[in-house]
Subunit: 342 residues, 4 copies
């Protein structure tokens, strides 16, 4: 099968390309640059990938003719402008950006400070949270955000089973610098980032409404979450440290049963009571590892989830959506080694 | 004035020694090793300090004869065994370890897994939280713990002024590896720590009862705190990310007034509304910088405090206690440069 | 095919295990622990590998019965003691340790401070420098050392073609901490290693005689090399910065021709004139990237080579030897992604 | 005494400012911004310094009227344009930039790609290599470069005493990212720099002619040096790993005597035979630590020197020059603590 990829030069795009190169069902990957007029060689822009593929100019008709589906690994706002022909043609798209994740145009505009896609297109999009929904048969998949994935997976069993006070959720999320992309910024200048912790977008991160939208699908009583983001002096990985007050009378067993029921058959999510994962144990893999514990003194539940932000938080989950869409094995293309030693 | 220092070889002890060498009121520092029988040269054990001072064998009578006061920078359990002669003689001691911080022997034994000092001695000890209590005239000062300092300073204005739900406190604290000391451990092996986050002592850190004891001094309704600790891939610094539910009707102004009232005259604590400190801005200094914000959506108050764990969290606060004890200027010996660039 | 692996718990052993799990020609891997009496579960000793394989007690007869070959990823000295039955039986072994690399027992003893294997066995061993010699048909392969690999590959074209003054070689080699293994040491304690450079084993590294032995194979006039090793504050990778005086009249073209001739058909070595590789571009891969330049002012040739010490410098090259031994495709099991972003 | 400082916002300028604030002979520091028209507050541009000093518009007459001397911590090219009035007036200047270090205008232009200062002014400038020349009585001091300082101090005893083959010098120099300044660049983007080594300006670094010029002062037979620079994943510090062939018959004793003679009375340079310094042992201090060893096998001398690039390599040496200029104690303002633990 041939697949198209728009936006290989960003961090998620590069990782996705490496995954696709090794995917057993992918014969050929056509690369497209949405901002260029003539073909370029990948070697010119990313020599470190050791590939001579051409990056073709962006042309929807050409993409649809030469591929069975297309990935967009572009920044926010791009697919709002570009995806229409694919949506109209019902051509399969997996979109790694945030444009089609939020169902409300107003909410999108408020958090992203950009115009949202048209409502009819938004409603066509499927939120590709692979561990809860299948993309089988879907045409336009909005791949979840990295912070959203780690936070939703951490809290899902508790929200779905109504085990926590819905107004008590606190998420202290931490991310490596690759989450901030390749753009040069003050906050990611080595002399600033190294030996440092820096908060950013406090109470303003655009993944907040994505998380809340999903929680409200499961429990309409979740009004909001308290969510902060801290930049770590390391490259890859997200840890979401989550706290929520257990409802009165909720027991350790109920908490455990909720996690076991939710994840015991999941290929990529592992939840363990009382053992907290380290960040590095998932880096280089598509796993989401979760540790949880009901503190009998405070009656708070602590839930720590870790993912590789570029894999389970982006390109890896995109491959999961691809596998679901085309009915391939869940782990196809995702049998990855962690970055040892861990 | 001559001062004694027992335990120069640990991280806190070394930093304290460097501070004392530059303190304008200190004429001479006598070093003592509590576990050695004969004098050693500092050059043998810590050549990197570039000093040839002798480390003298431990002898309480000798210490009291040759110094006006003594610092203990020893690990937990040592002063429980050694401090008695000084307490009996009412000789001034500043103790950087945890032995005399908790007023309850049972609580100490529960959290430290060691026998506590005798009750009469515990009651003589003063908890040296310099921004709230003065050590002037005190004889035995228990210098606060690093996590305790950062957490208490972050939340004090809210607890003292009863602005938060006392059962809602969540602290997500992070520390650099120097907090774990010089002992070789799995968790601080470079190949393990680097590019990683590791939780440790979840719900079991011995600074939890120290924090709760202090909060209950101010508000007997604080029953406990939810407190986790995460090891960072960096050497120096603690960030305590604190969350608490504002009581109904509490306003931004009340929160701001509490912080302003508490810290506007404080030499080393700076609290700013809506601006969150970076960790590195305090490393190398004795400052505690705090940023706080009432989130109008969640009605949670986010409070982020940062300190250098070896200075404000240990040796720096010990110098503050020393200055208070002997009525020196608050900033004497603490006019430090940060580790630029920040 | 079934393969045995003795020593999965070290860093090289773990990485080798992950490679073997994904190798298309390997059906089953039997794990053996050379220091244990009863079977253990891998989950107990290395839960982060997410595998429940048993680690079987060490038994040569059992190993030879159940496998077509065996890897040893043990520390120096172990195969000197254990390999004899395999050598006697002409059973295929790939040994990642240094025991069988040096042809002279005296040299081994001098540098390793251990007794060498018996001479007859030493002479049976093949030095598995895959880019220059093939292991096809060999029975006992001594897999090269990490520093040796990076240094030999950097200088081989110049030594083989006699383009440099053989007494002028200077190698300033740098390694990440994974090269020092999982043993806890002062030098790899995070608070020591981080933000630091530390030299170690100056003029005493046991890879020096391995490099010199190989160079003398190619040019008996190379009497020695000047070689230093510096520990870097990062986990994976070796950079060997090599300097050698070009012989009088040697031209840029001759230098270039030597590198092109040597490596243009090599699967894993890439040499480029005037472009110096970064360390990270090979981490996670089996590549050795080399940049070289004849400085017209000093008439020195600068050659920079980079490898992942655990792959091309250990487990990756072991797989290359395995592929050569059994006539599999050179890249089988080694189609690896780098750790992006690079 | 009042001193002026032009360029406080760069890394060297900030560090210099912190040193001057604590210098016992400095009463007041006037800050000047060479690119601004109106006074700004330091708080606006560098709030992390916790100072409310004004940054005054640049006006040479004003500077000379209100200060007894002025420091320039500006980038290359600025003092070429601005320093003339001070040179004409014989007003004391310490210039941290490279503009006045090279005596030849052509050499400057070749390496800096900028026009050099006029020849008459160049000849007035004193090269402030404090451990070899005194700035006492000098009016315009060109403070040495960071790489130049570490390299010259490492090799000076050998060059001055003609103990090495003058064509054999190889310097493998490594620097933390603060040496690259605060400008955002690809090479210092955290996701690029972290876990990486990157060479830059190979054979093209502008400190090469500065080093050669100095060596030729001491031994006209030194024609050049082989010099490479590698960017490290850490913030502060330079290690210069130097190699040079001992002349025939040169003995260990002669090497040792040269170092002892040169540095035994030096306040800030420590040279030790056979013990190689770690980078971190000098970070935060003005020391240059040197380890050296004659390798009896290769007859190469290995010399490793380490400095803090922002102190001994910039602002610290500038303070040394200041102390020499005005006859203050050598260590005035430089009694600094290292960044422990080391």
């Amino acid at each position: 099968m041939n697949v198209g990829l728009v936006g290989v030069t960003g961090y998620s795009g590069s990782v996705l390309f490496e995954l696709l190169l090794r995917h057993p069902q992918v014969d050929h990957i056509n690369l497209y640059g949405h901002a260029q007029k003539v073909a370029q060689s990948l070697e010119e822009v990313l020599p470190q990938l050791r590939r001579r593929d051409n990056i073709l100019p962006y042309d929807p008709a050409d993409i649809m003719k030469n591929n069975q589906m297309v990935f967009f690994a572009t920044s926010a706002g791009v697919t709002t402008k570009l995806a229409k022909p694919f949506l109209e043609a019902n051509f399969p798209v997996i979109d790694l950006a945030g444009d089609y994740r939020l169902k409300s145009r107003d909410v999108y505009k408020h958090w992203y400070k950009k115009d949202a896609p048209e409502d009819q297109y938004l409603q066509q999009a499927h939120y590709g949270l692979t561990d809860f929904y299948s993309s089988k048969g879907e045409k336009y998949v909005a791949n979840p955000g990295c912070y959203a994935t780690s936070t939703i997976l951490a809290l899902a069993p508790l929200v779905q089973n109504h085990l926590i006070d819905p107004t008590s959720i606190v998420v202290d999320a931490k991310s490596g610098t690759s989450g901030a992309g390749k753009k040069l910024t003050e906050i990611t200048h080595f002399s600033k980032t190294n030996e440092n912790l820096q908060l950013y977008k406090v109470n303003q991160h655009q993944h907040i409404p994505e998380i809340v939208q999903q929680f409200q699908e499961w429990d309409e009583n979740v009004p909001y979450i308290q969510f902060t983001t801290t930049l770590l002096p390391l490259t890859r990985g997200i840890m979401a440290s989550c706290y929520a007050k257990a409802k009165d009378n909720v027991t350790e067993k109920e908490v455990r049963d909720a996690f076991v029921k939710t994840y015991s058959d999941d290929t990529f999510v592992n939840a363990t009571e009382g053992v907290f994962p380290t960040l590095k144990q998932v880096v280089g893999t598509n796993f989401c590892d979760i540790g949880y514990q009901l503190n009998p003194v405070t009656h708070q539940i602590v839930i720590i989830s870790v993912i590789d932000n570029l894999l389970k938080g982006a390109a890896g989950q995109a491959i999961q959506n691809f596998n679901q869409m085309f009915d391939y094995a869940p782990e196809a293309g995702l049998n990855l080694s962690p970055v040892l030693p861990i």
